[in-house]
């Protein structure tokens, strides 16, 4: 499909890969610990209304691993630089899992270029007494199974993940994910103190069968970000944009559409 292109861009000293497609208000999609992945059907759908930008984070896949990269906060500041350099404004910022944590950190620090924030199965805060899978102790197959509710989809993803040419990127992604999220596991204890500073309209999209960050996290974020709206997608795991792409895109379109009417 020629609805998107992949290119490389340097932000200060760091070259990253990014996919982009469509035209309209900018929609910046930050991926999770699994890496940038492919141009998803939901991205193709959203590209009909938005300028979809899906970068590969520093330290992941084909992007550089800069010496300054240690924390999620570093990536949050990197994406604020990214928005400045591309001079984007009115940005709809979306982050899945680890990407959601980066997005929330960035929005706390500086939301002047943002129109809205959408967190999808996001990391960043911690809840006691919520059973969560330890993805660092699972083998590759189990890890993929735990991402999805639909195990037929999981099988297909497992089959597609065995290609040797993907091994380097997978190892790199995993190493960087560990660096960013091993300890404290998947959160920054200081983030929750400042989530109230997020004043842009915020949407929380969660799968009701998310085993990585169960939907309790959606409600916790909702309690911490003023006015945030939570949408729970049925029969869906940790990656609604992959597993229920149409429902995901529809929720996002409705949310942004309602924002425009309100404005």
């Amino acid at each position: 499909m020629a609805d998107h292109s992949t290119s490389t861009i340097a932000i200060r000293d760091c070259r990253i890969r990014l996919m982009r497609g469509g035209a309209g208000p900018p929609l910046l999609f930050l991926h999770g610990g699994g890496g940038m992945g492919i141009w998803l059907p939901c991205m193709a759908r959203l590209a009909k209304k938005f300028h979809v930008i899906a970068p590969e984070h520093p330290g992941f896949g084909a992007s550089d691993t800069p010496p300054w990269l240690d924390t999620v906060g570093d990536l949050a500041n990197f994406y604020l630089d990214f928005l400045d350099q591309l001079d984007l404004s009115g940005v709809h910022l979306i982050g899945s899992s680890l990407g959601g944590w980066i997005a929330a950190e960035a929005a706390v620090r500086n939301a002047t270029r943002l129109a809205s924030l959408t967190l999808v199965g996001a990391a960043g805060i911690h809840l006691n007494d919520v059973a969560q899978v330890d993805t660092f102790l699972s083998n590759e197959e189990q890890r993929i199974r735990d991402l999805f509710h639909d195990q037929e989809l999981a099988e297909a993803v497992i089959a597609g993940s065995q290609r040797p040419e993907l091994e380097d990127a997978a190892l790199k992604n995993r190493m960087m994910t560990a660096k960013l999220s091993w300890q404290p596991r998947n959160h920054d204890p200081h983030l929750r103190k400042w989530l109230h500073r997020i004043k842009v309209p915020t949407l929380l999209i969660w799968g009701d069968r998310d085993r990585i960050f169960p939907k309790d996290y959606a409600f916790a974020f909702q309690g911490l970000i003023p006015g945030a709206k939570a949408v729970i997608i049925a029969d869906c795991g940790h990656l609604p944009h992959v597993e229920k792409g149409d429902a995901f895109a529809a929720e996002l379109e409705a949310f942004i559409g309602a924002m425009r009417i309100a404005a």
């Binding site: 102790l137 190493m175 091993w182």
Partner: protein
Amino acid sequence: MKFFNFHLMPYRHADLDAIAKNGSAWVTFSNRHYDPQKGAELYHDYLDQMEFADKLGFDGVCLNEHHQTAYGMMPIPGVLAGALARSVKRAKLAILGRALPLLNNPLMVAEEYAILDNLTRGRLIAGFVRGIGAEYHAMGINPAYSQERFAEAHDLIVRAWTEPGPFSYVGKHYQFKYVNPWPRPYQNPHPPIWIPSQGSGSTIRWAARMRYTYCQTLSPIAAVARFFQLYRDEADKAGYKASPDQLAWSNTIYVAETDETAVREARPHLEALMNYFLKMPTEMLLPPGYTDPASMKRVRAAKVTGKPQSIEDVIKAGVVIVGSPNTVREKLAEYQDLAGFNTSLTKTQFGTLPDDMTRANMTAIAEEVLPHFRDRSPQGARREAAE
């Protein structure tokens, strides 16, 4: 050759079926399986064995460090070293921990080792390790920072021992306004530093450059020979000739009257070590970032099927030496010449081996093996043999 009695201090009463069911004796194996009555008994048995080793003429005793596991009950080896510092009268006392990256305050190891060096009047050997991957799961330390933290903690400790304090230290992971530990080490400039590793190339090369004694953990002798050759090559590059005294092989030896008896007696206990106490998933052993991607890929490519290892397998591969006194002497001499080491870190207790058998083994080694190697150094053309 020097002989050290190397103890892992396993919780040898562990329910092996429960370990198998859990998939590992590490991290997730519930401490409900630990019985303090039995555990206390084991600590005393094991410490008595170490004192016995001293009396038998072993050159040293070795402790190690692992966390949250039935494999070894020595998460804080300094406590046990403290217990031995006054009762082991002659032998060296080696701690083949401490896992530096796990520490949030490396100065505490500078202090602990300095106390032990004073207590033993200079018989301490100071081990520094990164710890195996499971440690990072157990102790909540980011494996991606393992190498950075090791390097920084090592530099800080050696400076704390050698530079007059107080001075300030500001690193990426550790910062101190005042570095000024009391006591200072008894040995001048500091206790010998030994570096145990599973065979990481970067660790071997670094140890060679630093002239630290390198200790190879549980490996087939052919691999040991390659690792030791890498050390010698790196020493050559650094402009000096490595001595066999800088190389230590960590092995297991069991001696009985005949080969057959030795194998029969050692089998269940050694197989318990190999197939239960040591077992863990790859994800536990090698968390992301613990080692560089190239090494990670090598390990994944070499992935063994995980089938149980028999005592015959590990004898054949030269991981252990089990047999009559004559067989053990022959094998050890062969391996010493092949790999070129001058220190044997010998587990005389292993897996579920009970106290009486351990003591009999220690006595047999002391009487039938040690005297024959007292003045023996590696012989022959090693370089070719290792290739």
